[in-house]
C-alpha cells in the first residue's frame, strides 16, 4: 500500500462534526512541512478552512498561505469556466454571461455535472503535476460517494461529447491507488463509527478509489494505569474526599467528578473504537489522533494535529 503522504491526491471525508476539516488541514500542513508542495482545497465554498490556518478566506485561485502550502476553495462555476477555457478551448469565454444564471439548472438537470467539476478540478491539478500532494476537504459521508463516483456515472450516462472524453483520464487517476486515496475521519462515537463502516463498504463497492486510511479523531487517553483506578475509587469515597480535601486545602469533589466523567467518556469511546476495529476489513490503515483539549481551532491546533499525525505516520 502506498504510504499516505506519498500519494498525490487525498479526499478527506467523515460525518459532520468529527473534525474532517481539522484533519485535512493537519495532513496538508504536515506534508508541506516535509517539503511537499501541497494544495489543500475545500469543496464547500462556505466552509471555514481558512480559520484553521488563520488566514483570510480562500478563493478558487490557490494562494500560498505558508511555505509550500497552498489553499483554495471550490467554486463549481469557476471550475466550469476554467474547464471550458483549458480543456475544451471553447471560444465563448467572453460571452459566458448567461451561464451563471442557467448554470444551476444544468448542474441539477445533468446529474454528476457539479460533482465532476469539483473532483475534476483537483484531478486536473494532479495530472498537471502542479503540486506534490493535493488534499481535498471533501464532502461529508453522505455525499462523498456521489462525488467520487461522478466520473464513472457521467461516462455511463453521457455516450458522446467532450465531457465524456474527459472522464477517461480522470478515472485513471482516481483508480490508481499509488496516486489517489480516500481518508475517512471518524470519532469514537456511535453514529460516526456506523457511518464510517457503511462508507468503507460503499467506497469499495461503488467507487474505484482506494481507501487509504481511517483516522480516528479525539481519542481520549487512558487516565489510569494498573492499580490506579482502585486508588481513585478509594479517594472517591466520602472518607477519601475528606482526607484529600484536608491534604489539598480546598474542595476536590468537582475535580474527582471531572475525572470520573473522563473515565466514563473514555470507556464509552473505547467500546465504539473496538466496534470500528472489528467491523473494518483486515489490513485497513487505522490512525489515531488524541483529543487535544485546545481552546479554539486555529493554527496552533492545526499544528498539534499535524504533529500527532506525523508521529502516527512515522515522520
Amino acid at each position: 500500500m502506498t504510504p499516505l503522504l506519498e500519494r498525490r491526491l487525498l479526499f478527506v471525508t467523515g460525518k459532520g462534526g468529527v473534525g474532517k476539516t481539522t484533519i485535512a488541514a493537519g495532513l496538508a500542513l504536515l506534508a508541506s512541512q516535509h517539503g511537499k508542495r501541497t494544495l489543500v482545497g475545500e469543496v464547500d465554498s462556505k466552509g471555514n478552512l481558512s480559520d484553521y490556518f488563520e488566514v483570510p478566506p480562500t478563493s478558487f485561485e490557490p494562494r500560498e498561505i505558508s511555505p509550500n502550502l497552498f489553499a483554495m476553495s471550490m467554486h463549481t462555476e469557476e471550475s466550469l469556466k476554467e474547464y471550458l477555457r483549458l480543456q475544451l478551448k471553447v471560444p465563448l469565454v467572453a460571452r459566458i454571461g448567461p451561464l451563471a444564471r442557467t448554470f444551476d439548472f444544468v448542474a441539477n438537470a445533468a446529474p454528476g455535472v457539479k460533482e465532476v467539476l469539483t473532483v475534476g478540478k483537483f484531478l486536473w491539478e494532479v495530472r498537471e503535476r502542479h503540486y506534490d500532494l493535493v488534499v481535498v476537504d471533501a464532502a461529508a459521508t453522505g455525499h462523498v460517494v456521489a462525488q467520487l463516483a461522478a466520473p464513472q456515472g457521467i461516462q455511463e450516462l453521457v455516450k458522446v461529447g467532450l465531457v465524456r472524453d474527459q472522464t477517461g483520464w480522470m478515472l485513471d487517476i482516481l483508480g490508481d491507488e499509488a496516486q489517489t486515496g480516500v481518508v475517512i475521519v471518524a470519532a469514537p462515537e456511535e453514529m460516526p463509527v456506523n457511518e464510517t463502516l457503511e462508507l468503507t463498504e460503499r467506497i469499495r463497492t461503488e467507487t474505484n478509489v482506494d481507501l487509504a486510511a481511517i483516522i480516528v479523531n479525539r481519542v481520549l487517553p487512558e487516565l489510569f494505569g494498573r492499580g490506579e483506578e482502585e486508588v481513585f475509587e478509594r479517594l472517591r469515597t466520602p472518607d477519601g474526599v475528606a482526607a484529600l480535601e484536608a491534604a489539598v486545602g480546598g474542595p476536590v469533589a468537582a475535580v474527582l467528578d471531572a475525572a470520573e466523567l473522563a473515565v466514563t467518556l473514555r470507556r464509552t469511546r473505547a467500546g465504539h473504537l473496538a466496534r470500528l476495529r472489528e467491523g473494518l476489513p483486515p489490513g485497513t490503515n487505522l490512525l489515531y489522533v488524541p483529543e487535544l483539549f485546545t481552546r479554539h481551532h486555529g493554527m496552533r491546533a492545526t499544528q498539534l494535529v499535524a504533529t500527532s499525525l506525523g508521529e502516527e505516520l512515522g515522520y
Binding site: A139, L157, V163, L235, G250, P251, A254, V255
Partner: protein, 390 residues
C-alpha cells in the same frame, strides 16, 4: 455520575407545543438532532397525550430498534406501551415513529401526479430518474418536507416532530420546495422540452446551448429532454404541491427547534439558521445546546485544588493515609486527575464563551449536559427529554 443540572431550560413542552402541530428540529450534522427530536416526541406523548409521530431520517441503529423501527419504507410504527412501562412511565398519548425512505417517497409522488399509468411507468423506469433522485442532494431535503406535508394533511397525528436530513446548509431544506418549483418552471427546462425541431432554431441563436451541447453531447441532452418531457406532465401538480409544502412551513402551527453543540462550526450554522428563521418570520420554538460540559469545570476553588494536585502531588500523597495506596501510585493518580480537570476546563471555557456569543435567542435556550453514555433506549430518551423540557 449524575449529570449536572441544566443551567437553563427551554420552558415546558406545554409552552412550546401549545397550538403547534409540527416541530422541526434542525442543525448541522453530529449535534444530536435525531435523539433530540425523538426525546421531544416521547416527552409530548407522555405529558401532553394525543397521537405523536417522530419522523426521522437516519437514526442510529440502536435508537431505531428502541423505537421499533426495523424497516424502511415509510411505515409508521407505534412504540409499544410495554417499552414505556419498562422505562417506568405511563404515557398519556401514543408515540409513533417513521423513517424517511427517499426513494419510496419519490416513487409515491410520481404515482400521485402522473397523468396516466404509461407516463408513470416510463418515469419510474427511466435511468435518469433513478440517477436524479438518488444523487440530487436537494431531493432529500424536498422529499422530507413533502412527506411531512403528506402526513400532516392526513390528519392522523396531533403532533409531528421532524428530524431534518443532514444538509450542507440547514437552510437548504427550507428552500427546497421553492427551489423545486423554480426548477420545474425554469427556462432551461422549458427549452429542453420544446419539440425537437423548433429547438434547432433556438439552438443556433444561443451560445449557451451550443456550449451545453458540446459539453454534454446532443444525445444526452435528448435523454434529459425526454425525461423532463415526461416529468412536465406532472408540472402543475408538482408546483402546487411545492407551494403547499412551503405554506405549511410558514404556518403558525409549525415551530422550529435549533439544535447545536457548542463547537464553533455547528454554532455558526445555528446562528445563521436563527437569523434566517427571523428573516422569514418563521417561529423559533427553542434552541437546544447539546453535549455541553458540566459547569463545575469552571469552578474557581476546584481549579485551585486541581492545580495543587498537579504541582504538589508528592506532598499531598505523603499526607494521605497509606490505606489509599502506595504514595507513588497516589501521586500519579493525583496528577492525572488534576491534569484531566484542567484539560476539560479548557474546553468548558471555550464552550462558555461560545454560549455567551449565542445571545441572539434568549429565553428559549436549553442546555443539555454530556451524558455519560449514548442514548439508545426509551429510558435514555425520556431522561434527555426531561432534561430539556421539564
Amino acid at each position: 455520575m449524575a449529570p449536572a443540572k441544566s443551567s437553563a431550560r427551554a420552558g415546558s413542552i406545554e409552552q412550546l407545543l401549545d397550538a403547534k402541530e409540527i416541530v422541526i428540529h434542525c442543525g448541522s450534522g453530529g449535534v444530536g438532532k435525531t435523539t433530540t427530536a425523538a426525546a421531544a416526541a416521547a416527552e409530548a406523548a407522555i405529558h401532553l397525550g394525543g397521537k405523536v409521530l417522530v419522523l426521522t431520517v437516519d437514526p442510529a441503529k440502536r435508537l431505531a430498534n428502541a423505537l421499533g423501527l426495523e424497516q424502511f419504507g415509510n411505515i409508521e410504527t407505534r412504540v409499544p406501551n410495554a417499552a414505556f412501562a419498562a422505562a417506568g412511565v405511563e404515557p398519556r398519548g401514543e408515540l409513533w415513529a417513521a423513517m424517511l425512505d427517499t426513494k419510496q417517497s419519490w416513487d409515491d409522488l410520481v404515482q400521485r401526479h402522473a397523468p396516466d399509468a404509461a407516463t408513470r411507468d416510463a418515469i419510474l423506469a427511466n435511468p435518469l430518474y433513478q440517477n436524479l433522485m438518488g444523487r440530487f442532494v436537494q431531493s432529500h431535503d424536498y422529499i422530507a418536507m413533502e412527506r411531512l406535508y403528506e402526513i400532516h394533511s392526513s390528519g392522523t397525528y396531533d403532533l409531528i416532530v421532524v428530524d431534518t436530513p443532514p444538509t450542507r446548509n440547514a437552510i437548504d431544506f427550507l428552500e427546497a420546495p421553492a427551489r423545486m418549483a423554480d426548477f420545474f418552471s425554469s427556462r432551461f427546462l422549458r427549452w429542453l422540452t420544446v419539440p425537437a425541431r423548433s429547438r434547432v432554431l433556438n439552438f443556433a441563436s444561443k451560445p449557451f446551448y451550443t456550449v451545453a451541447d458540446r459539453i454534454l453531447g446532443s444525445q444526452f441532452l435528448e435523454d434529459i429532454a425526454e425525461f423532463f418531457l415526461l416529468f412536465q406532465s406532472m408540472y402543475d401538480g408538482f408546483v402546487d404541491r411545492a407551494k403547499a409544502v412551503t405554506r405549511v412551513l410558514e404556518d403558525r402551527r409549525t415551530t422550529f427547534v435549533v439544535v447545536s453543540t457548542l463547537e464553533s462550526a455547528p454554532v455558526r450554522e445555528a446562528e445563521f439558521f436563527i437569523r434566517e428563521l427571523q428573516a422569514r418570520k418563521l417561529h423559533l420554538g427553542a434552541v437546544v445546546l447539546n453535549k455541553v460540559l458540566p459547569d463545575y469545570l469552571l469552578d474557581r476553588k476546584a481549579t485551585t485544588s486541581a492545580k495543587r494536585m498537579v504541582a504538589d502531588a508528592p506532598a499531598i500523597a505523603e499526607a494521605l493515609d497509606r490505606s489509599f495506596g502506595e504514595s507513588a501510585q497516589i501521586e500519579r493518580v493525583l496528577r492525572e486527575v488534576g491534569e484531566s480537570f484542567l484539560n476539560f476546563q479548557v474546553v468548558a471555557k471555550r464552550e462558555a464563551e461560545t454560549k455567551g456569543e449565542l445571545a441572539g435567542a434568549p429565553e428559549v435556550v436549553a442546555t443539555v449536559p454530556y451524558f455519560d453514555s449514548d442514548i439508545y433506549d426509551l429510558e435514555g430518551l425520556i431522561r434527555l427529554g426531561d432534561k430539556i423540557w421539564r
